[in-house]
Symmetry: C2
Subunit: 523 residues, 2 copies
């Protein structure tokens, strides 16, 4: 079975259709938003190589689009795009509101919980859509490629008996490591939101250990409804974590220029920087603005695709700061236009971020700390001023800052002076640029490009119908056995018995000796 790919061939003055014979059949379940931006690169490349791709997405998806090489199948969900959108708008407002540290953590959890709840409803709508499920079965796919941030993929893979490849940055509460049976000692692998590096003092390790326990509990709460759905739909005693553990390959969107070195598993493949490309030319108007910056260069500023607008009073802080720096600023700005925009600031609805960061004039990058942007910064060697907003961004920026290639500011406390200071530091203190250039060189010094690696392992799983030889036997053990608690228990039991027998023997001997002595005395 092969879906024909048709293109307009100008030389032939006709539509040329190609029917790829060798392509495999991929079912892709992506996550909308910035997650899709990276995954799209892999999916497009797979399609370009002649594989037949079907994108399976809820009808509420905004960013995900098919192409002439990729079919798209939208399934109905019992919530509207407006409902999803309004929940996101509330979310966008939240990030600029100050909240105490613990509340912030709880808020993050609450957001994830509500996200998960919506996903469960969407997943149910897919799984119980019999017509669609029958169609998917008939299409006889070779692989399911999914971002497991959306747990529905694993359930679908099991239902359709497909091997799966995961594409992700990480999962809440470290579920990715748990499911992949990857050890992560609490003594040097910092947990979510810890604000610690891999070098922790005693109080930090104590905090990290406690967070490790909290995460385990959190995981159970957060994925409870998915556990329930999986068990009900697949009609077997199974949790989401079990299903997730069946992933053949984990394509992880980081590497160790960003993440702290830690244990890994044979089926984990590091493709950090997959989104980073050689910068191509800018539009004439933008190029002119950039070139006009002279020796001072430019500052690139964006807070990501999820944050559509910034409250006016917050934006004025940035406008004030920018009016006092010698650099020119390119700002992805979709909010209300103020009365007076400084001359050195160019507001744009969409920013050619990669091309701007790759421009020789780029001096600094103001970012919210999504991995996407951070990797573009690392790739092109541009020091950063970081304003984490939510999710894993706090952890991300901490990693960058701990390498001395960026400065972290708090979006709630920020003043024009603080921003000017931070920009001044990363632009004019040469150590920032030097360390960043070195980090960038190490990141780019790799035996194979991340995209090629991702394509290879996805095709590997299709060719070999899985990657069973990389699946650790730990999956067959329960946690009690995995940690050898039964063995330790048995050994302790034996020791206790031995000690008891020894004590008995001693007591017996002492008594006998005592009696003998008494007898002698009596004699």
């Amino acid at each position: 079975m092969g879906w024909p790919v048709c293109r307009w061939a100008p030389g032939l003055l006709l539509w040329a259709c190609v029917c790829p014979a060798l392509g495999e059949r991929l079912l892709v379940m992506p996550v909308d938003g910035s997650h899709w931006l990276s995954m799209k690169l892999l999916v497009s490349e797979l399609a370009r190589r002649g594989h037949h791709v079907l994108l399976l997405i809820p009808e509420t998806s905004v960013l995900i689009e098919g192409s002439e090489l990729m079919r798209i199948q939208r399934f109905p969900v019992p919530y509207s795009r407006e409902e999803l959108s309004s929940s996101l708008t509330g979310f966008q407002k939240d990030v600029f509101q100050r909240s105490p540290p613990l509340t912030d953590l709880l808020l993050n959890v609450q957001r994830l919980l509500s996200f998960t709840d919506m996903q469960v409803i969407g997943c149910e709508a897919l799984l119980y859509n019999q017509t669609l499920m029958e169609q998917l079965k008939r299409e006889d796919f070779n692989l399911l490629l999914t971002d497991p941030f959306l747990p529905c993929g694993s359930i679908l893979a099991d239902a359709l008996s497909l091997p799966s490849v995961y594409f992700l940055r990480g999962l809440p509460c470290g579920l990715d490591l748990l499911a992949a049976q990857c050890p992560a000692p609490v003594s040097y692998v910092p947990r979510f939101g810890m604000g610690a590096t891999d070098r922790m003092n005693f109080p930090q390790r104590l905090q990290n250990t406690l967070m490790g326990v909290v995460e385990l509990l959190l995981c159970r709460v957060m994925y409870r409804s998915f556990d329930e759905l999986a068990a009900r739909y697949l009609n077997k005693a199974v949790t989401y974590r079990d299903l997730l553990g069946h992933g053949a390959i984990w394509l992880l969107r980081y590497d160790f220029t960003f993440e702290y070195p830690k244990p890994t598993m044979p089926n984990m493949v590091y493709i950090g920087g997959i989104n980073c490309q050689k910068s191509s030319g800018l539009k004439e108007e933008v190029e002119e603005f950039v070139e006009g910056s002279g020796e001072h260069g430019i500052v690139v500023f964006t807070l990501g695709s999820l944050v559509q607008s910034m409250p006016a009073e917050k934006a004025s802080v940035f406008f004030q700061a920018f009016s006092q720096i010698p650099q020119r600023v390119l700002w992805r700005y979709t909010g209300e236009l103020p009365d007076h925009v400084p001359e050195n600031v160019k507001l744009m609805k969409w920013l050619p971020q990669n091309d701007l960061l790759g421009h020789p004039k780029a001096r600094a990058f103001i970012t919210h700390g999504g991995t996407h942007g951070i990797y573009e910064g690392i790739c092109h060697g541009v020091p950063m001023v970081m304003l984490p907003l939510f999710g894993d961004q706090g952890d991300n920026v901490h990693r960058v800052a701990s390498r001395g290639v960026g400065v972290v500011l708090n979006i709630h406390d920020i003043t024009p002076e603080m921003l000017i200071d931070a920009l001044n530091t990363v632009i004019n203190e040469s150590s920032y640029k030097e360390r960043m250039v070195k980090l960038s060189a190490i990141h780019n010094d790799r035996p194979i490009e991340p995209l090629d690696l991702a394509v290879f392992w996805t095709e590997f799983v299709m060719r070999n119908k899985g990657a069973g030889h990389l699946r650790p036997a730990a999956h067959d053990l329960n946690w009690f056995q995995y940690h050898s608690l039964d063995v330790i228990g048995f050994l302790l039991f034996v020791m206790v018995i031995v000690v008891m027998v020894l004590i008995r023997c001693c007591v017996f001997c002492l008594r006998r000796c005592g009696r003998k002595l008494q007898k002698r005395k009596e004699d």
Copy 2:
């Protein structure tokens, strides 16, 4: 600084000398014997790419030779080649002598201990050779490439302040994993000599746990003299394990078609099968013998480079068996020639093993189970009959057998019938060949060739003066901290205090209540 490389240029009728300008300077400390056969491939390729290689070896080395591209520096040691050779001859005789299982383990340990002792003496002779050490310092190397089976390399790397790359299959008592801070849960990572797979029942896990403890103790005993030498020479409190932990990259001569999947670390690179090459043509005489085998094909038989000859009575078992099989046999045989050699057997002093296994007529491979041979078997998809002799070979063959692509025989018990049966099984039971073809396909299905990967990472370390970004922070923790025992201790302490305070409170309350009740009664 660059050492000129001179070649006879027939076209120019003169010696053409090239002085490579960009090459880095590598100091290489290899281990003699089969270890060198694999490492030589990497070293030769590095030399070919214009790097300046100096092979540093004791004068007793037999197999290691320089070339026009590689300089060689032999250093004197206080034992002769004959002494080394005679210890090896005794060793060769040992392997054909039967010993009870536990004795076998102890014998292995004893062999390693005596090997280590000789290495310590050799290492001392190098380190305290002031002229040579001064020369090495002057040469200003960029990297030390060593097989850490010989612990001297790590001490030298520290003394010369060089980053190091390791090239190995593994180290006794799992020291490689300990030094690299790589977790290896006893519940599914079998220890040395366990004869277990990664799927163990309770008694096996119990045995494995105990072996894990024994290994820890064994490590201390085995490397004690090296610990002492390192601390004395470097004049600091350091153990061999500490020094070993400073290795930038571990090039491991296995992959997960052979080894069971288990945790790994970011600086571990898997290059299993690096020794395997496309088979090139055979010599005419050998090709004729092979082709003459007809539909039955050939059996390739070698027990490795360390075993020079086999006792006559043991050899006769093989001759008897071979005379009864329809296949032709090519046997690497350096012992006494018997009166009658069966017509279908060709004895050779040296076997083009890779080319024979890659020949379409290859039906089975009789091997002692060294990783070198096993990988050639896997690479070319030839099922095996395995006769482990010593060291890690017992573990190796168990891994191959557990994948259903080979049969293990005991060299001590072997009879002609058993050998015929085993050959019959792997040649005529199609499942063996089928599984082997599949395993071979998976092994060969890789994004980058092992040799290229090894070259890349060696050059990476030279380019970047190490691979610090891959070094886990676990190295800065002692074992107490690594396992969070201080944190757990503190939490238990707090829990005890809390429970005690609660009990006190309860007792206090109960007493008060009791008193009140008594008072009321008294009233």
